[in-house]
């Protein structure tokens, strides 16, 4: 392909997407940021004025809930990411190294199928498993292992379990691609030089898959800090995350301006992650710009 060629007429096909993204993505986020600096709706309310009070409310946090919400959002995101990595890595490794095409297709199907079943449905599934009269507690009581139900739900534990289930496929898909590209002969070489299987894995394959680990982790972290359905159904009164707080401000407190400020805080955290993710991916894929 010519290096310094001008855009071809095909470039015009970008126009509809660009229009959609400017009108329904870029501008709205601008509106959200703007609203976060207003006391009300500047179009319908002539008395609305510019203010930083929503940010002050968040920063000084006199009610003592906003910082906690931010921390528990990040904490839940982090735990979900680590557990997803621990669960996703063996699966991804297995899939990447599988010889049989059929086996590969079946495992891939099993990984993708949960992705296609919707967050609400999967959260429901975990509620039926983890609640007091759910599958696990019923079995544990029937078998005489515990006398009263374990608190598996309406807390951070249940939230993390369901979040891991929802986001682990993203981890697996990211990791499989990276592990699949590592030359298997490197590991074989290490083994023929006397390294045990574990050592060959830890010293050869694992370091080479580090970019995939980072990319997958950032993706899962970004997804889990913005989760709303799962923490609000599985967390009960124990868990309050930033997305839940935002929904409260819109739904029950009717304060879209403060919700906007909270949104900007969450957006900044996410943007930092997205930038890091894109850098890693750019280094991973080299010339091809498939983010």
């Amino acid at each position: 392909m010519a290096v310094a060629s001008r855009p071809s007429p095909i470039a015009w096909l970008l126009a509809p997407a660009l229009l959609l993204f400017v009108l329904f993505f870029v501008l709205p986020f601008g509106v959200m940021a703007m609203m976060s600096f207003y006391s009300g709706n500047p179009v319908t309310n002539p008395n609305a004025f510019l203010t930083t009070r929503h940010y002050e409310r968040f920063i000084f946090d006199t009610a003592g809930i906003f910082h906690d919400a931010l921390w528990s959002t990040l904490r839940i995101g982090l735990i979900t990411t680590v557990v997803s990595l621990l669960i996703g890595y063996p699966l991804a490794h297995w899939m990447a190294r599988m010889q049989s095409r059929l086996g590969h297709a079946l495992v891939l199907m099993a990984v993708i199928a949960p992705m296609l079943t919707g967050i609400v449905v999967r959260t429901f599934a975990w509620m039926t498993i983890l609640q007091d009269k759910g599958v696990i507690n019923t079995l544990l009581i029937d078998w005489g292992i515990v006398s009263k139900p374990l608190p598996l739900m309406y807390n951070e534990f249940g939230t993390v379990v369901a979040l891991v289930h929802i986001y682990v496929p993203f981890m697996v898909l990211t990791l499989t691609g990276v592990i699949g590209r590592i030359d298997e002969r490197l590991e074989q070489a290490a083994r023929s030089l006397g390294a045990g299987r574990l050592r060959a894995f830890v010293e050869v394959t694992l370091p080479l898959s580090l970019p995939g680990i980072l990319a997958g982790s950032l993706l899962v972290f970004a997804l889990s800090i913005s989760a709303y359905v799962t923490p609000s159904l599985m967390g009960g009164t124990d868990v309050l995350t930033l997305p839940m707080l935002i929904a409260q401000q819109v739904g029950t407190s009717f304060n879209p301006n403060f919700a906007g400020a909270l949104g900007v805080v969450l957006l900044l955290v996410s943007l930092a992650i997205v930038v890091a993710y894109n850098r890693i991916l750019a280094r991973l894929s080299g010339e091809q710009g498939l983010a």
Partner: protein
């Protein structure tokens, strides 16, 4: 992570490390799939509350689901919206991918990342930002606003699958057609379009599912009595956990699974690992 510390070599008949590795992965697969199986059991279990183990098989919850207007209206609305999103995102996303791959655009990788960004930014914020914009402009919460919001988060999938196909196919096929005298329009309609069709369709299938299962973007954009199925289910689940939700879940899952089968038919799932 794969093999425990052992000195057993893989030449021996029983390989404990390998067995442990396979057992672990089997358990992880079970973790992924068990919840779906359990939902099916509850959907067919006739007891009034979610209880385990199931005592029988009945279709009463499916009956309740299909006899409750609240659910069926929401299902129809969700299907209608997902259908519109499918068409819109195929057209917009397919065109965009072509422009990105063939348009000689400056800043191509930046543009690609930009068009992928709705997948990375919190969807609930996309919903919030659109809610505030609609509020500011004073248009209320129209259905077309919801459809375009879903299209925005669905288009990246179409772009992604189409780009993957475009990336793999040989440009010389197009050049050959041009050399043989086909006009650029004819090359486009008779060579390029048929070649990218599987990628566009696969993306469309994703777009349908993304819209049909969409919750965070819809949350602030639906109106009372005009809620999509996931929102209705969510609100119902806050107070009631009975078999109707399980049946509704099964309806969604069956829809999604049939869509996966279509997808497998169209291009084979293998193409997705490379994304």
């Amino acid at each position: 992570m794969s093999a425990p510390l052992q000195t057993i070599r893989n030449k021996q008949p029983f390989d404990a490390g390998r067995a442990a590795y396979l057992t672990l992965n089997g358990l992880l697969l079970a973790f992924l799939l068990a919840p779906i199986a359990i939902v099916l059991a509850f959907a067919l279990n006739p007891t009034p509350y979610i209880s385990f183990p199931p005592v029988g098989v009945s279709l009463r919850w499916f009956e309740k689901f299909f006899r409750t207007p609240e659910f069926t209206n929401a299902l129809l609305l969700s299907l209608w919206i997902a259908g519109c999103v499918l068409v819109l995102s195929i057209v917009i996303g397919g065109a965009c991918a072509l422009a990105l791959a063939r348009g000689n655009l400056p800043g191509r990788s930046f543009l690609t990342a930009f068009f992928m960004s709705p997948l990375m930014l919190p969807a609930i914020l996309t919903g919030l930002a659109l809610f505030q914009s609609y509020l500011l402009v004073g248009i209320g919460r129209p259905v077309w606003g919801l459809i375009l919001a879903h299209t925005l988060v669905a288009v990246p999938y179409v772009i992604r699958t189409t780009l993957a196909v475009l990336h793999n196919f040989d440009r010389r096929i197009e050049e050959a057609a041009a050399v043989l005298g086909a006009s650029p329009t004819r090359v486009f309609f008779e060579v390029t379009l048929p070649l990218i069709r599987p990628g566009v369709f696969a993306g469309g299938v994703f777009a349908f599912i993304v819209s049909f299962d969409q919750f965070p973007v819809s949350l602030f954009l639906v109106v009372p009595k005009g809620e999509t199925l996931p929102v209705v289910l969510f609100n119902y689940m806050k107070f009631d956990l009975d078999g109707a939700i399980a049946a509704a879940s099964m309806v969604s899952i069956l829809l999604a699974l049939s869509v996966v089968l279509v997808l497998e038919r169209l291009i084979g799932l293998k193409a997705y690992v490379k994304l």
